[in-house]
């Protein structure tokens, strides 16, 4: 105790003892210092909160605003039989493509993915990209759009007479349901959302059973021997390994060494467009390794919180160890385990670096169809779009961040509800 806590008297008190008449506690001064520092501490806390607010406002700022765009071909001229472009059926749109595009270009699209298999939204997107050809000439963020709207209108009229100026929200339901494309104005995050969900599915399938199993072993079976101590320390250490290292591990093991498995070769299910190990499955397993320590640590805590008396009562009735665990410990620990797992999942959904290393594809416009498909995820798209020099892609990135944050928010809300609803106090 003594060595640890150097409890020295404050300078103002030191050495005053001998001369009783010199007592000068300087209470006023000390109180003043106290108040000043109190302000410093309070201000730091406020700075932290301001940082969060600035971050959120910054994202909002990018997600809305004026856009000036030009269309190569006026969509109004593409109406067929009096039906405007937006409302035409898939067959009409395909016919339109066939008539307006060169034969080579049309066949190229057909080999990419047969028109038979494409959704109407996808065909419409192709029409917009290849025939209408919207081109963004300039974008403004929300702040500029609100404060300088008159100036913006004047600029557009003067510099881009043919352009259309519109105040838009980059985040729309269309944006969420549209597949990805190479143009900022027609792109969407459907591919990325589905990619995220597919990846997370395999992360859960892989990490949840092993993580809970490990937690049960450590809490219910493990004695205090050398091996188990190593396991415990090791799990704590793994929780602190940078996520990018897991990405490199995933690249070496899941993508390269286990390529026959992750590409689907041994199941005979190779996706012809992928044909290597950089698949949804490899990404899911990599993220599984990453969140495994988190799941184990949280599940351990939940299992530890189940009171010993429940176990004793079960043993007293003649139940075996596994019967006790399965019918009494696990049901009581389940809300805690699930809460911990949800938190681990929200960590996995936001991870970018390991997936870049594992080899996420950035330019795919088709939904992942199997564990052996190429993939992209929401964070990967944010990274990709933020890294582009064109400002309109920054706005797309901001809208994607909003989608990601909403996903995380709903996950965390469900964790909180789960915790409040099922948490028991013993």
């Amino acid at each position: 105790m003594k060595a640890i806590i150097p409890l020295t008297p404050s300078p103002s008190l030191r050495g005053r003892g001998e001369h009783a008449h010199e007592y000068n506690f300087n209470i006023e001064g000390r109180n003043r210092t106290g108040t000043a520092w109190r302000w410093v501490f309070q201000a730091s806390t406020i700075v932290g909160i301001l940082a969060l607010i600035a971050l959120l406002l910054n994202i909002m700022n990018g997600s809305f605003g004026y856009v000036a765009y030009e269309a190569k071909v006026d969509p109004a001229t593409l109406a067929q039989d009096g039906i405007p472009l937006e409302e035409q059926s898939r067959e009409q749109l395909v016919a339109l493509l066939q008539s307006k595009l060169s034969k080579g270009a049309f066949n190229k699209l057909e080999t990419d993915e047969p028109f038979e298999k494409r959704s109407r939204a996808n065909v419409l997107q192709v029409v917009n990209e290849r025939i209408v050809k919207y081109e963004i000439v300039q974008v403004w963020d929300l702040w500029a759009s609100l404060t300088k709207s008159a100036k913006i209108k004047a600029t557009v009229e003067k510099d881009f007479p043919g352009a259309e100026l519109e105040f838009i929200s980059w985040l729309t339901t269309d944006f969420i349901t549209r597949p990805q494309s190479s143009e900022a104005i027609t792109t969407g995050v459907r591919t990325a959302i589905l990619g995220s969900l597919w990846t997370i599915l395999f992360t859960i399938l892989f990490a949840f059973p092993i993580g809970v199993g490990a937690a049960i072993y450590l809490e219910e079976y493990a004695t205090d021997n050398r091996l188990n101590r190593i396991i415990r320390t090791n799990i704590n250490n793994l929780a602190g390994v940078p996520s990018i290292v897991y990405g490199i591990l995933g690249l070496a093991i899941f993508v390269r060494t286990l390529e026959p498995l992750t590409s689907g070769e041994i199941f005979g299910l190779v996706d012809p467009t992928t044909a290597n190990g950089r698949t949804v499955l490899a990404a899911g397993l990599t993220l599984g390794l990453l969140v495994l320590p988190i799941i184990i640590i949280n599940a351990q805590e939940a299992i530890r919180a189940v009171p010993q008396s429940l176990r004793k009562a079960s043993y007293g009735l003649g139940a075996t160890r596994w019967q006790t665990i399965w019918s009494h410990v696990l049901p009581n620990a389940l809300p805690g385990i699930l809460t911990g797992t949800i938190l681990a999942i929200s960590r996995a959904i936001g991870e970018t670096a390991p997936l870049v290393v594992v080899g996420a594809s950035t330019a795919i416009s088709f939904d992942p169809a199997s564990p052996f498909s190429k993939f992209t995820t929401l964070p990967i798209q944010i990274y990709q779009w933020t890294s582009r020099p064109q400002p309109e892609f920054r706005s797309v990135a901001a809208a994607t961040i909003l989608v990601l944050l909403m996903m995380l928010l709903s996950l965390n809300a469900s964790a909180v509800i789960l915790r409040n609803r099922f948490s028991k106090r013993y």
Binding site: R30, F41, G48, N234, I296
Partner: protein, 312 residues
């Protein structure tokens, strides 16, 4: 009927002795396997990273001495000086910690020593939100908010579009909640009796906080700072987005420079050919990262254990 039932009971009574249960043993075996799985993960990291890193160091153009002395990292032309990557990693880390340590300590002192329980119950979830935001979002924030801010303050000709300062500052915000929560835990672990004794001696609240509680929690704080440093070194997406592409040996925080993690992400984007120089080099760099962060984490854990022994 009744008779057979009794017979059955009798038989069961005889069998009540402990017997081998195959199912139970099997389940225990499976659970044990899940338990040791994490050890395989560590072995996997060490083996795979070590193997490929060894290939990297065995390349004919490779010269270990040159790696440690040269300031040029251009693997394709045989220049393997690691310093540009290391210095920029150090720079972002130092900048991040110079934000995260003072603010983290202040916030945790405020939360544990000053804030009312109600205030705490509002502030802590806010900090948790800050900790739960994906790092790529911080990367966007660094590029779209911090960089323009710095350029406005210091001038566009001084601050480049990609620079380590903005990445480091935002990384500080990212690490702030981590340091705050760990520090606050160790501050509130300091026994009440110490505080009461100091108040009894006439100390003011600040004197109690800074001269009694803080020194008593010093080990916990040290552990928090070390974990923070380890996190900063391994942080990837903020630097990948905001610090710039291309190794640059510089100590100017307003210039673009690539960190170890940023470099790995940049060259592994897209299909990286197996056994190329780039492929092997990311394993060598990954191993370096792993060793550094593992060492820091182990030191921190050791410190925490010693701190616990004092009060429990």
């Amino acid at each position: 009927m009744a008779n057979t039932a009794t017979n059955g009971m009798n038989k069961k009574t005889k069998n009540l002795r402990r017997r081998a249960r195959v199912g139970e043993t099997l389940i225990q075996g499976l659970l044990f396997l899940s338990g040791v799985f994490s050890i395989f993960t560590t072995i996997g990291i060490v083996y795979e990273l070590g193997k490929e890193a060894l290939l990297f160091f065995q390349m004919p153009e490779m010269d270990l001495l040159q790696t440690l002395t040269s300031v040029e990292w251009k693997p394709h032309v045989g220049k393997f000086g690691i310093w540009p990557l290391v210095t920029s990693t150090l720079m972002t880390t130092v900048i991040a910690m110079s934000i995260a340590i003072p603010f983290g300590l202040s916030v945790s002192i405020y939360l544990s020593e000053y804030a009312t329980p109600k205030m705490r119950s509002i502030l802590k979830p806010i900090l948790e939100v800050l900790a739960g935001i994906p790092t790529i979002v911080y990367g966007y924030f660094a590029l779209m908010f911090m960089t323009p801010l710095l350029r406005n303050i210091f001038g566009n000709d001084v601050v480049q579009i990609y620079n380590t300062a903005s990445a480091g500052l935002v990384m500080g915000i990212l690490i702030l909640p981590l340091i705050t929560s760990m520090t606050e835990d160790s501050l509130s672990a300091v026994p009440r009796s110490l505080r009461e004794a100091a108040y009894g001696m006439g100390a003011t609240r600040l004197e109690v906080a800074l001269q009694v509680v803080l020194p008593a929690a010093l080990f916990g704080i040290a552990a928090a700072v070390i974990i923070g440093i380890s996190r900063a070194i391994g942080e990837t997406m903020i630097v990948a987005v905001a610090a710039g592409a291309g190794p640059n040996f510089t100590f100017n925080p307003f210039e673009s420079a690539e960190t170890i993690t940023g470099h790995i992400v940049r060259i592994s984007g897209g299909d990286l050919a197996y056994d190329s120089i780039d492929y092997n080099s990311i394993f060598a760099l990954g191993l370096l990262l792993f060793v550094i962060t593992l060492t820091l984490n182990m030191i921190s854990q050791r410190i925490v254990r010693r701190f616990r022994e004092v009060y429990e």
